[in-house]
Every structure is written in structure tokens, then in C-alpha cells.
């Protein structure tokens, strides 16, 4: 069967679901972050696939570059928060981080 737009979109949908599953179920903050990265990758596959099959210019690819930039910034800040969390609670399990007091 010829591989077309639907195949790429289906792949992205599966990746998105796996990422969502990790975000919803994992206790470890770093694993949740990995799930977020997976979701962003799925979104990027969609952008690039639409840029190839539907659009004729490169707008989709440019947006993919910006998504990657934002993901890098998010990962840096999130890991800083994780390290801070570990320093205070000696654990990075998200269900233990339920205190609002500083």
C-alpha cells in the first residue's frame, strides 16, 4: 500500500497517545517530561507532513523549528524545577509535591 498523508498522521496519533499516557500515569517528573517531548514530536510530524502533502511552501517546517526551540527551552526550565524539587523533598515523585507553602 502506498504510504500517504494518512500513514504519517496515524503514526503521529499513536506517538501522541503514548506521550499522553506517560504524562497521565507516571509519578516520576523526568518521565512525565519525556512524555511531553513525545507529544511535541507527534505534533511536529503533523506539521511537516501537512507541509509536504497539503501546502506547497515551507511554513509547516518553519513552525516545526519553532516547536523544537520551545521544547528545548521548556526542557531546560523544567529540569531546573525538577532539581529544585529534589533538593526540597528528596524525591521527584509528582504526587508528593502537593504543598503550596514555600
Amino acid at each position: 500500500m502506498e504510504v500517504g498523508l494518512n500513514h504519517y498522521l496515524a503514526l503521529a496519533a499513536i506517538l501522541f497517545s503514548l506521550g499522553l499516557f506517560a504524562v497521565v500515569t507516571k509519578k516520576n517528573a523526568v518521565t512525565v517530561l519525556m512524555g511531553v517531548e513525545l507529544i511535541l514530536n507527534a505534533a511536529n510530524i503533523n506539521f511537516v507532513a501537512f507541509a509536504r502533502f497539503i501546502d506547497t511552501d515551507l511554513d509547516g517546517q518553519i513552525i516545526a523549528v519553532f516547536v523544537i526551540v520551545t521544547a528545548a527551552a521548556a526542557a531546560a526550565v523544567a529540569l531546573a524545577i525538577v532539581l529544585n524539587l529534589y533538593e526540597r523533598l528528596k524525591s521527584i515523585n509528582l504526587d508528593e509535591a502537593d504543598s503550596l507553602a514555600g
Binding site: M1, E2, V3, L5, N6, H7, Y8, A10, L11, A13, I14, L15, F16, S17, L18, G19, L20, F21, V24, T25, K26, K27, A29, V30, T31, L33, M34, G35, E37, L38, N41, N44, I45, V48, A51, R52, F53, I54, D55, L58, Q61, I62, A64, V65, F66, I68, V69, A71, A72, A73, A74, A75, A76, V77, L79, A80, V82, L83, I92, D95
Partner: protein, 163 residues
């Protein structure tokens, strides 16, 4: 079956398989290794979508940057007396229901939508065109992205510093 179709199935299997390892393995470092191969597989998918520049950026930023950050995060936030670095799961049943529902809706939408296909199916180098767009049409987003990166750099350094 021509070569690009076979390559698509290989890369798709690699991506989904390693993403599965990432999600379902209990050891965080194994999750990171799964993520490594998932990123690599996605880069392969970009190549098949004629996005050569994005594919290399994907490897450079995700593997060379984000994944190394994540591994450092794992190693700085565990007691490393044992190789055992495990994570636990919670809310498994509701998660399966919700995620399964989302996936079903997505797949249904994808298969039932009549897409208007128009794009060219030629393989052309994209680097020059992307660079040109970045410096003309997308100049303001480009500048904002660099300011965002600077802010993230300073913010991350400030948060992670010991008081």
C-alpha cells in the same frame, strides 16, 4: 513496494516500538534510551517527508541537547547507590480509557477527513529556503524565539542554583 515505503515502515516501527519502551519500562534510564531511538526514528520520518534540515535539527537538539539534559536530570535526582532507578505508575485504568478514547477519535478523524492533497512530491534541499524565510517573513518570531531561549537560560540557571 518501493524503497521509501519500506523505509517508512521501518522508521515507523522503530519510533513506535521505542516510544513504547519509553512509556512502559519501569527503569527511567531505559525510558531515556527508548526516547533516544524514538527521536532517531522521527528524524528518519522527517527525511522521508523531504525535510532534511528539520531531520538534522531534530537529532542535534533532541538527542544532543534535551536527551542529555534529561539523563543529567535522572542522575542528579536519584540516589545512585544502585543501578535500580524505577518509576511507578498510577491511575492506570482511567488513563487507558482516556488515552484509548483519544486515539480512537484521532484515527477516526484522520481516516474520515477528505484531505485536499496539493503539495509537490519532489525531494528538494530546504535549508536555503528555510534560512531565507527566517530572515524575512518569520523574522519577528525568530527574534522572539531567541529572546525566549535567553530568558529560559537565565531562568533555569537561577532556579537550579543552590540558595
Amino acid at each position: 513496494m518501493d524503497f521509501t515505503n519500506i523505509a517508512f515502515y521501518i522508521f515507523a516501527a522503530l519510533t513506535v516500538g521505542s516510544a513504547g519502551v519509553m512509556v512502559f519500562h519501569r527503569n527511567v534510564v531505559y525510558s531515556a534510551v527508548g526516547l533516544l531511538f524514538a527521536f532517531f526514528g522521527v528524524a528518519g520520518i522527517y527525511v522521508l517527508l523531504a525535510a532534511d534540515f528539520i531531520a538534522i535539527v531534530q537529532i542535534l537538539i533532541y538527542v544532543g541537547g534535551i536527551l542529555i539534559l534529561l539523563l543529567f536530570g535522572v542522575m542528579l535526582s536519584q540516589k545512585l547507590t544502585k543501578v535500580d532507578v524505577r518509576t511507578e505508575s498510577m491511575q492506570l485504568v482511567p488513563a487507558v480509557v482516556v488515552v484509548g478514547g483519544v486515539l480512537a477519535v484521532l484515527l477516526l478523524t484522520i481516516s474520515s477527513t477528505p484531505w485536499k492533497l496539493a503539495g509537490s512530491l519532489e525531494y528538494e534541499p530546504t535549508t536555503k529556503a528555510i534560512g531565507r524565510l527566517m530572515m524575512t517573513e518569520y523574522l519577528i518570531p525568530f527574534e522572539i524565539a531567541s529572546v525566549l531561549l535567553l530568558a529560559a537560560l537565565i531562568g533555569a540557571a537561577y532556579i537550579a542554583r543552590k540558595n
